[in-house]
Every structure is written in C-alpha cells, then in structure tokens.
Amino acid sequence: MLQMIVFGIICGLMLGFVLQRGRFCVVGAYRDLILAKDVRMLLATFVVIAIQSIGVYALNGTGVIQFANDGFPWLGTIVGGFIFGVGMVLAGGCATGTWYRAGEGMIGSWVALFGYMLGAAMTKYGVWKVYGDQLLSYRTRDTYIHETLNVSPWVLVVLVTVLVSFLVLRELRKPKLPIFQMKPKKKGMAHLLFEKRWHPFITALLVGLIAIVAWPLSAMTGRMFGLGITAPSANILTFLITGEDVLIDWGTFLVLGIFLGAYIAAKGSGEFRWRLPDKKTLRNNAFGGVIMGFGASVAGGCTIGNGLVNSALFAWQGWIAIIFFLLGTWVATYFTIIRKQKQTVGSFKAA
C-alpha cells in the first residue's frame, strides 16, 4: 500500500509539475492545428510517443513489463474518440489538462473534472455500462499494428523515431521568431523551475521520460500499464460512494499527484488563483466533462492513455483514437469558435 501511494504520487507530482510549467495542453495542440495552423504542439505530442516507444519496448524486451493482447475494440474507439474530442473542447482541457488546471485554481476545471469522473463512472459501472459494453464488444483479432503487419515492433519504433526526429530538426532550423519575454525576477534554479518559458520539445522530452518510468513504478504495485487517467478518475468517485477499496490502485495516486504537482508549480510561480468563468463556460465545462468521461471509457483511454501510451505501444486503439480525437476537436472548435468568428468579423481573414 505504502509503495503504491509513494510511487503513484511521485510520478503524478512530476507529471503535474511538468505539464503546468510547460503549458502542455493536448486539446490546445489539436485545436491549434486548425485555429492557428500551428503544428508545433502536435509534433510535441509525437515526441512523447517516440521517446516512450523506445523506452517501453526496451523494458518489454528485458521482461520487466508486459503488454495486454485483447484485440482492438474498433467501434468503441471510433465513437468514443470522437465524443471525447468534442468533450475536451467544451471542458476546456483534456482529462489530464482538467486535473492540472484544477490544481491551478480554475473552478471551471473542477466542474469539468466532476463531470468527467461522473461520466466515466456511469459508463464503467453505472447506467451507461450497457452502451459502453455494447460498443466495446466489436473487436478485431489483432491488437497491435506490428502484429497485423507481421513485423517486429522495433520496425515501427525506428520508423516513428526517425520521422519525428526529422520533423523536430526541421522545426528547430526555422528562423527564430522574436518572441517577447517578461523580465526575469528570479535567478538560478528558481528561475528555471518557476519562471522560465519551457520549450515544448523539452517539456515533451520530460513527459516522455515520466511516461516510461510510470510503467515499472506501476508494475511494481501490480498494475501493468503506464500513465492512465480515466479509470482512476472514475474509480475515485465510485470509491467515495461505495467504499470498495479494490478500486484504489497506483493510478489513483497518479492523478492525485498530477493535481498536487500542478498546484505546487502554479503556487511557486505565482500562477495560482481561484478563477471563476462565466455561466456559459461553466455549463460547457460540466457537459463537456460528462461526455468526455463517456468517450474516454468507450475509447479505452483519454489523450494520455490512448493518445500517448497506447500509441507508443503501436496499438491500433491508440492511433485510431488520435484520428477521432482530432476530428472531434475540430468539429467542436468549428462550432464553438471558428463559426462565431466568421459571423462577428467577416473580414477577419482579410485582416
């Protein structure tokens, strides 16, 4: 038990801290692709995938960790992925984003987080379970892309790593934009940890390393998976209501750690304050949270569990989920932001 608490919290603390300081936001990364025509943050998510794939297949090779092989629930992943994508735009952050923004004092994220826990718990254990189980019953025989292609996973690890390295180098070679920086008020370590802007690729590198160590830390407590947010979030709420302590595992302490780590990072850098959005945003946060919980449960993971972890394992589920997360994000961004912009400012693009 103590080991579970300590390993979970440590991993979560590091992740929450890094996400807050690096302003690492998956919904932002997906959204900016159409809103700002900016691929940099999306590329950062692929840096996480590439680094993690090397680490986890190396650990798998030594026998420290094993991967599940229970087919690819394609219908659940497609439907759930799309709904999750829509939900995270309305919720103002993906599952992890919601946990760390709650740590920054965003009340809208507390509302979204409650909705997310509720939606996920309803789908895993409650009245939506029948729909979830139905969607999850359509499975292919193969779980992994390399299994279908009948190649070693290392072929894909090398392919993705080479491709991502090439794109990163190309991005870094672009002429540097003269981005205005605030005058530093802190020095040394304090400046580095609590003030400096972190380059998204540095943040991605750190997230990738944390995602690797998550595997053995979690495995030592009997939970054979890497970073995962949805099941622990559903389980916390269900545990609080039922008192069933089997629901508590490494993941529970991971998500609590994310919240604490983000709070420490925000507090240390003067970025913590209770912030209340307007009523319309709160309504969207609540609704977005609930459907995000449903979506993540039937997709078999959120933008972390599927988008960063299953994708690094080269599970079909991870990659197909990313495609539908993107589609859902774009549809919701179109209806909540782009269409409104076109209505209010007709000459927006011309300017």
């Binding site: 936001c25 932002g28 809103l35 809208g108 981005i179 205005f180 605030m182 304050r273 945003t281």
Partner: protein, 75 residues
C-alpha cells in the same frame, strides 16, 4: 490612443481569439492593452504577436495569475 481588452475570467483560447478580433479595426501603431488570467495565453499571445508582426511594448505579471500585455499593431 490605446484600446483596453478585458479578458480576465476567460479561459483559453478566448483571450487570444478576442485579441485577434479586437486588433482588426485598429490602425497601425495603435496599442491594445490586454488583461488576462489564463496561463496558456502567456505563451500564445506573445507568439501570435511575433508571428503577425505586432510589437509588444509591455508584458508584466500584475498579480497572482494575472497578466497585462500591450500589443502595438504592426503593418
């Protein structure tokens, strides 16, 4: 003449979305003062200004999780 844009309480990406809208009918050289409290905008607003060729004349954290940035419209 400076124009003030109050986005405190708005979550991302709305401070930037509003700033983009507000700057459309401004004249070159005019200043837009944006008050915001969404952390991600500390990254996205300066980046947008640099990409669009607007100059940032002032950027400071005025309180816990509260920032003020002044963007001077470029050509």
């Amino acid at each position: 003449m400076a124009k003030v844009l109050e986005t405190t309480g708005m979550v991302c990406p709305f401070p930037l979305v509003e700033a983009k809208e507000a700057i459309v009918d401004m004249a070159t050289g005019e200043e837009l003062i944006i008050n915001f409290d969404c952390t991600q905008a500390t990254e996205s607003i300066p980046r947008w200004a640099a990409t669009e060729g607007h100059e940032i004349t002032e950027f400071e954290q005025v309180d816990d999780a509260k920032w003020r940035i002044i963007v001077k419209k470029g050509n």
